[in-house]
Symmetry: C2
């Protein structure tokens, strides 16, 4: 059974046991548990933990940033709202009079929603 307990996993990934629990707490990586509740890290989790460290170090980002990115992929409405906000860059077309601003925005939202609807609902890549 190739699954390590938290201290062993810490050893081979460079994270501290404390941080492995923290990474789990912020929702980024939740290992399986033994019957008694021990955390069990498989090869996939170990690889992911190493990659995670690289990701954080190379781009100078924090766990909270990744946690937000996770929220973005999980919460459809949040993603729509933030996308809409960024899309509404302050480059309102010169020809559009101020009064039409709102309807202009509305139109943009419609386009965004249409684009979202076109996406595959959920890939669910079943274990082959």
């Amino acid at each position: 059974m190739d699954a390590l307990t938290i201290n062993e996993a810490a050893e081979t990934t460079g994270w501290s046991p404390r941080m492995l629990r923290y990474v789990e707490r912020v929702g980024l990586l939740e290992p399986k548990r033994s019957a008694a509740g021990y955390r069990l890290y498989g090869p996939a989790e170990l690889q992911r933990l190493r990659t995670l460290r690289e990701l954080l170090d190379e781009h100078d980002i924090g766990l909270s940033d990744l946690a937000f990115a996770l929220r973005l992929r999980r919460d459809e409405e949040l993603r729509r709202a933030t996308d809409a906000w960024f899309e509404a860059e302050a480059q309102r077309p010169a020809g559009v009079p101020s009064d039409d601003w709102l309807s202009f925005e509305q139109h943009k939202h419609e386009k965004l929603l249409a684009a979202l609807a076109r996406r595959i609902p959920t890939p669910t890549p079943e274990t082959v």
Copy 2:
């Protein structure tokens, strides 16, 4: 000319002048400047500021979260790296032996890159 100075903008958007400067500092909204360096908020900026407050309040997120979302859309490499990490959910297909894990990952990266290349490089929605 419909452009407000920082205190006026604060008045009509509900942000404090201090926070308007902070929002600018984290890169989320940079108003134009007068010749003397005064911040000038146009109608578009004012609307964006109100929408920003809504966005933060309704989803209980912070400016730093939005700042990271901005990094994600600006920094192609960062987006690729985070997407790749999330894509590599710990559901490694059972059939793949451990030794092939790395090449499996590599393959996934290739697919991701191909998907990215297929995208429109930059929408650049020219002023109609």
